[in-house]
Symmetry: C3
Subunit: 269 residues, 3 copies
């Protein structure tokens, strides 16, 4: 049986020791926040999207983060190239299918990326992840319109079909590889009032994938870490501007021991 609290503490300690390079091809809205979150937790972020360098960059990285939040044809081409290289080098990939289901371009791009190289983890809200499995229409922009708990059976089926770990974030986070189903209870409602918290969660999964060979463990523990940071931030901040600042602070100040004690993960059996 996986000791997630123990893994979380170990993963955070490893990131701070090894400072893995996390290669992000992500959206314009969150690049600054993502870089600051990765730095605060102890990882080494790099953002690079030029077709002429993504393969070289992914080759020196510990993980690749793909996020389609502000995609266009050039960025998609770069993501496909980077994903192919990561796949051939067995580097872990985490995919954030922002807005999948909202437009055809986003749904199809997410599917193309998955076909190019299976991500170790796909992290999204329920609507986005479900759109990957059944072409469901009707997501409202980048908001979550399906609830996480309703998505459980569908998520297990899609994870099994795609051969990946799905991490669906919401009031509770659901992580599944198609067989096991893990619930991460850490988090705070104010996280939904700050742009890019989902994208940050994806990037933290990337950092943990660089130090943890088990994608289910990496995803669940990264979400627990970020959720605990969200809880800590709520102590000092009650509105989203100051809350966003406190969130970054918490990623820096939480140490492995505190993380171990704070993890609230349960397995669904």
């Amino acid at each position: 049986m996986t000791d997630f609290a123990q893994n979380a503490a170990r993963n955070l300690a490893r990131v701070r020791e090894k400072k893995p390079l996390v290669h992000n091809i992500t959206n314009y809205v969150v690049m600054n926040t993502t870089a600051n979150a990765l730095l605060a937790m102890g990882a080494s972020p790099v953002m690079a999207h030029a077709a002429g360098e993504v393969e070289e960059m992914v080759a020196i990285a510990g993980a690749l983060v793909l996020n389609i939040g502000t995609l266009d044809e050039h960025w998609v081409a770069a993501m496909i190239r980077a994903a192919g290289k990561a796949g051939s080098l067995k580097k872990p990939i985490v995919l954030d299918p922002v807005g999948a289901g909202a437009t055809t371009l986003r749904t199809e791009t997410a599917r193309r990326l998955i076909a190019e190289a299976t991500p170790s983890v796909i992290r999204g809200n329920a609507s986005e992840v479900l759109a990957l499995g059944k072409g469901a229409a009707g997501t409202k922009g980048v908001d979550a319109v399906h609830s996480v708990s309703d998505a459980k059976d569908a998520a297990r089926a899609i994870a099994g079909y795609l051969g990946t770990v799905l991490a669906i974030t919401g009031p509770e986070d659901l992580v599944t590889d198609g067989e096991r189903t893990i619930w991460v209870e850490n988090g705070h409602p104010m996280m939904g009032m700050v742009t890019g918290t989902g994208c940050t969660a994806t990037a933290l999964v990337g950092a943990f994938l660089a130090v943890d060979d088990d994608p289910l463990s990496a995803a669940a523990t990264a979400l627990a870490f970020y959720g605990l940071a969200g809880e800590a931030a709520s102590v000092s901040a009650a509105a989203p501007g100051s809350y966003a600042v406190s969130l970054i602070d918490a990623l820096f100040t939480i140490d492995p021991e505190r993380l171990r004690a704070g993890v609230r993960i349960r397995e669904d059996r």
Copy 2:
């Protein structure tokens, strides 16, 4: 006679209830700030610029925000496409002609966008807005070099000529549809020390356009709301880093009743 204080409170309450999707094609500098401001006030932001999806996105949005702050040919093409779709669907558009008058590309792009589909509102500083009417040269980058009060007569003429509402922000904000002239007195000088406050104002106008059929009312009340947030932020912050954080907080904490009481709008007769 329009009761702007009443409209302001009603618009804010409606945004928080309906959470309209606001589709932004905006500049790289402010994307994060804009998204956080829209979220904090209660709207649902999305940033999307790919030619292959802007029409689909605008079709599910409540308003379209076009901002040419870091334009290039690809982004201009996307804006024109989105504007055309919004026009055909009668979706409200707000245009921010950042730097119009500073370079030929910016002035001409703003004019092309207006020709493609008349915006409900154009929000800029005095130099930018006047450049749309007379090809005036000499704006200093993205700074305001003409004063708002001097711009009144020219603005009324341009608004009438273009058939739109002009919202010129400065120490006092001027809003006119060519016939009526409204002054918004809310605001604080520190807002000028934070990048993207003008762009945020534009996005807030977009959110109010999604819930208010009267563009003059939507523009004036959005600027009053943002100005009141600027006043509130000045209570807790005296330097621009912390002020920017407090501004986002204020967009979240101000409720409709406080807004109604704080609006300072007068009509010029």
Copy 3:
């Protein structure tokens, strides 16, 4: 003998008086932070990268900042065009070769920009700057892997060879034109935990280049100013989220007299 403390105070006072337009072609991650830092210190930032306007924009600017942090072919073309125009107009250029040495594209792009128009100052970490001189491989993403002090002799040789001022930032900052070697002792370790602090340093050098004809003085005093802001920020903030906010605040609150008193620069003889 240069009185750097005096020059620092004079440069800051001049920036606040003249509000020079600083034209940035920089990376997506730091655009917002850079603009806010320049505004807070008193300069007037503009971000513009379209091929169709960079020459017009650089013609009205006081300095050009080139930063290859998230480059691609279109941005490189714009940078080359802007650099050529700046060179022909004798406008000062500061180059930030982010990640030079990490990928071939970055190293070659930095060299092409230098060949197009010699920058007045090149600001980077030790790895990046050394990569410009010897094609050294092995930088780890955008992190500094060589120490500043070890880089001294190499930096002097490269500065002389390129005919520019090199500013290498680290625990101590090294500034050299190939003959003189200046050490800037201001700064704080927490600056390394916030993304884009190097890029901000580069932009501040740009602002000072707009008001100081001596690139060695402009670079050293800008780094001292930013380092002093970093020291001031550490008084009120102990984690990187709130530290980043306090850094911007400090750029606004430090006045020329306080800067003069706080500068710690020594010349290596």
